[in-house]
Symmetry: C2
Subunit: 221 residues, 2 copies
Amino acid sequence: MLNFSISEENYIKTIFHLQQEEKNVTTNGLAAVLQTKPASITDMMKKLKQKKLVHYQPYRGFRLTNEGKKIALSIIRRHRLWEYFLSEKLKFSWDEVHAVAEDLEHVSNKKLVDKLDEFLGFPRFDPHGDPIPDSQGRILKNQQIPLSEMPLNKSAVVCNVSDQSSSMLELMDHNNIAIGTRVEVKKKFDFDHSLEIKLRQQNPFIISDMLAKKIFVKYGA
Amino acid sequence: MLNFSISEENYIKTIFHLQQEEKNVTTNGLAAVLQTKPASITDMMKKLKQKKLVHYQPYRGFRLTNEGKKIALSIIRRHRLWEYFLSEKLKFSWDEVHAVAEDLEHVSNKKLVDKLDEFLGFPRFDPHGDPIPDSQGRILKNQQIPLSEMPLNKSAVVCNVSDQSSSMLELMDHNNIAIGTRVEVKKKFDFDHSLEIKLRQQNPFIISDMLAKKIFVKYGA
DNA sequence: AAATAAGTTTAGGCAAATCTAAATTATGAA
DNA sequence: TTCATAATTTAGATTTGCCTAAACTTATTT
């Protein structure tokens, strides 16, 4: 596997995430996420197409090739292993790890990454609950469901948050919800789809549908 | 302290090391070490002068300003902390850590570096025996002497190796000499200044003057 | 089906970091 | 002191990644 620039890696990684949602990734869509201009996207797509990392026809959007996906997974592996390290070993709070890992993920020495994995005890989920690809790029699927889809009175644990904006994190923090928090849905309101939830040792309180859709939980654990 | 490009950081760090030896660093000298062309050095010196990181007059060589030295020390701090981490925690062999740390050192997040320092227990020497600057840029001086200058029959510990070429490392490895190895000089030969040395549980053997000048030891420890 | 709006690409430029080749400055030997 | 050589700088290109503005394609609306 060849070496890629930081810029190329950021494009590849972001396309990977975007194409989980939509069939094809669009120029404007990617530009918005990468905080850059559509023209820059087109330039890079030409380059990545030439390197056979994306399928791309002008005006038709793009997707990663299998080779592109492999590379994306190796970048995501690095990112999430560093997040785990920062959280578990350096005691960063879980909302700080992402930004720091954005830099560390571009150090692409394979031996470093594999030894880090070993040092951490081969964790398969990062502090946000996202799966960490193994050295072959394989990921375990954990069947997470959004809080909004939970049945009433069944206990589960928060394992993933699909929005890492600071406004989101602020709200989570204010409500004392974090990765690992045990939660139960007590009631659902038809009017605005808001939910009443209960955390351990706390009185129930109400959260919006919008928030509940972004908090993912897993039974057990 | 502002942010610098990877390229700028490599120039600053290398000038710092070179100016320990010589009064002024030269264009050709720096070009040789950085594996680049003299013209590139001149370009960068103009930029670093403008940023007040080097004293530079055309044709007269250059040195770091105090500000430049501060930045150099922070880069060296990162480099050596990562070396320590790689060696101590990830079990890299001591001749592998340098190359990997070359990449990690450019992640300049201050909180990351300070937390890493804390996680490692605030070590003050890296696996090569070089001092690690603290968060204020202060370094402990350890009085190392080259093996070639040791008195006879006095025991000391290898703590530094001033040449990290693979040919050097190969020779060290072949002779079972590593950082931390306890060593004693048994005899010095006037003819070619070669030395007979003895390691723990081994028969004495002879090494060249050239090698002995590059291996540094410290008493005690 | 044509017109318009939205999305995308092209063309041309800029800054960083590098290069080669030519010009300039310094140095030390005769 | 002058001159040849070595060291350094300048001038002009190149590559990467980004930009703006203009041109073009696609999709939508009437």
